[in-house]
């Protein structure tokens, strides 16, 4: 269980990115985090595994307070949290297998990871995860030889290789076509269901968020303006999050233009 209390972040430039964010994510819940660009979605996700230092408030994961951790303890906490990135963020010149195994880095000593001598269980897990995401035959390929959708699957396998207690997902579909986007979202949803794994998915696309999450949190200018069931996302609520727009038209456009690479909702969101 993840619990955020009064989390705030002010960058040293003086920009206030997050203000008093509080919510709780119980086990197995997939949370869709939506909001316009610059609303603080990315910052929020990165505060949880401390890639960004929060400036106030508390974050606790299964009763471990994360905000005060340093050094080794911080790395031990990070290995409990899997993260899936925008545009995959694979190490492009390493093989697929090394990318997946890098999910174990928090568990193995430096000399083992340097010699690529991981435990047998870790390797077996990596093979089975690659099979699960449909890349069983690709383990010796270099990551930059894969297509976008395949790379994101490797990214998912890397996060699961950590055996995480929480999944943080940052714009998983940002550079994928609509069909692949849906496959990736379905895959993330499936693995969360199987493992009773809570996840926070930061996503531009309102339709995808509604379709694949149990709960939606809407962020605007660093504050929570909506927190509820996906069905609760009425035009009024969307206006509160994104600003004035003809939502009926947007929904219609989106369902009609499946083949388009970027869905209109993204453009709308960025136009605000």
């Amino acid at each position: 269980m993840l619990e955020l209390k009064q989390l705030s972040k002010t960058y040293h430039t003086g920009d206030r990115a997050l203000t008093d964010i509080s919510f709780t994510v119980p086990a197995g819940q997939v949370v869709g985090l939506i909001g316009p660009s610059g609303a603080g979605k990315s910052t929020l996700i990165r505060c949880i595994n401390r890639l960004v230092e929060p400036s106030g408030g508390s974050i606790s994961l299964a009763n471990t307070e994360l905000t005060s951790l340093r050094g080794r303890a911080l790395r031990k906490a990070r290995r409990r949290i899997g993260m899936i990135f925008q545009e995959y963020a694979l190490v492009e010149r390493l093989t697929v297998m090394e990318n997946v195994l890098s999910g174990r880095l928090g568990y193995v000593p430096v000399w083992r990871s340097f010699l690529r001598r991981f435990n047998g269980d870790d390797i077996a897990l990596a093979f089975s995860l690659l099979e699960k995401v449909g890349l069983g035959e690709h383990h010796n390929k270099r990551a930059d030889a894969l297509s976008g959708g395949q790379r994101q699957r490797v990214g998912i396998a890397r996060a699961l290789e950590q055996n995480p207690e929480l999944l943080l997902v940052d714009e998983p579909t940002a550079s994928l076509d609509p069909k692949t986007s849906r496959q990736i979202m379905r895959l993330i949803q499936t693995v969360c269901r199987e493992r009773n794994l809570p996840a926070i998915i930061n996503i531009h696309d309102v339709m995808l968020a509604q379709q694949f999450s149990d709960r939606i949190i809407g962020l605007r200018a660093g504050e929570v303006v909506f927190d509820g069931k996906p069905e609760g996302l009425t035009d009024d609520v969307l206006t509160r999050i994104y600003g004035q727009e003809d939502w009926a038209q947007v929904r219609q456009d989106q369902s009609g233009t499946d083949t388009e690479k970027r869905s209109p909702a993204i453009d709308v969101a960025e136009g605000v």
Binding site: N49, L51, R75, K76, A77, R78, R79, R80, I81, M83, F85, Q86, E87, A89, L90, V91, E92, R93, L94, E98, S102, G103, R104, L105, G106, Y107, V110, S113, F114, G155, R158, Q162, L168
Partner: protein, 271 residues
């Protein structure tokens, strides 16, 4: 570009009056500086010697040809030494340059305030001083021979390799680093899994490039006693055996062209 209103109507000028003036002042200053330097430099030049140069050139040219082809048999040993100076020196330089580069790169240095300036100072010192000067010093300190040449080449290579390498480190994709950090990896593991794979091609390219330059430089280190072909060159020059000098030049030229070819091929392969 400006328009100026005059009695005859608007005229078009390429630059405004002030810019024009500044430009002319700049050119004037450059010409004046050059003339001044020229005068200063040639205060002690004996122009009779300079006027004599064509005759001298003809004389030397006469003695240089035909080259002493048979002399090549005495050059194999020095050539082998030259290659070893360049190769071993490059290895030493590269091995030392790697940690220096990581200490100098602003995204991997342990301390920007204290460690980074020291690393940058090492790089600047090594880069500013030519390998021949390093060799001159080392021959005076540890005596003539191959070791002085190897260390000289090594010392000069540190700055070159470390500078290019730390620039490569500073240009890596930070998202890959962030992704590895998010798995709970330690500092050493982040360097191993996220930084090294990204800079490896640049590293091999830089090393081979420096090796190629070192081959050129090691051909002359013998002039100050640090072994290799230069030693032979010095001997031939001091006995005015110009046809042997020509032969040495031919060997140097072939070696340099060959090493340039090798280096170009390897760089093509890794990049």
């Amino acid at each position: 570009m400006t328009q100026a209103q005059t009695q005859t109507g608007p005229t078009w000028q390429f630059r405004s009056g002030k810019q024009q003036l500044l430009r002319w002042a700049g050119w004037f200053w450059l010409v004046a500086l050059t003339v001044f330097c020229w005068e200063l430099m040639n205060r002690d030049t004996i122009w009779a010697f300079v006027a004599d140069a064509p005759d001298q050139a003809a004389d030397i040219g006469d003695r240089m040809f035909p080259p002493a082809w048979g002399y090549v048999n005495e050059l194999w040993g020095p050539l082998w030494d030259t290659l070893n100076i360049a190769t071993l020196g490059t290895i030493i330089g590269v091995v030392i340059a790697i940690p220096v580069a990581f200490l100098a790169a602003s995204n991997t240095t342990p301390s920007r305030r204290f460690v980074r300036p020291v690393a940058l100072l090492i790089i600047v010192t090594s880069r500013s001083i030519n390998s021949l000067i390093w060799a001159l010093l080392l021959v005076a300190i540890i005596g003539p021979g191959l070791l002085s040449g190897i260390v000289a080449i090594g010392l000069r290579s540190i700055g070159f390799v470390a500078k290019l390498l730390y620039e490569a480190i500073e240009e890596i994709d930070v998202r890959q680093v962030e992704a590895v950090r998010a798995t709970g990896a330690s500092g050493a593991q982040i360097i191993d899994y996220a930084v090294v794979p990204q800079i490896l091609p640049a590293f091999w390219g830089i090393s081979v490039f420096r090796w190629d330059i070192n081959i050129r430089e090691s051909t002359i280190l013998g002039l100050v006693g640090a072994g290799g072909l230069g030693l032979q060159l010095q001997a031939s020059l001091s006995t005015l055996a110009w046809n042997q000098v020509t032969m040495i030049f031919v060997v140097i030229l072939i070696t340099v062209v060959a090493s340039e070819w090798v280096s170009a091929r390897v760089r093509q392969a890794v990049l």
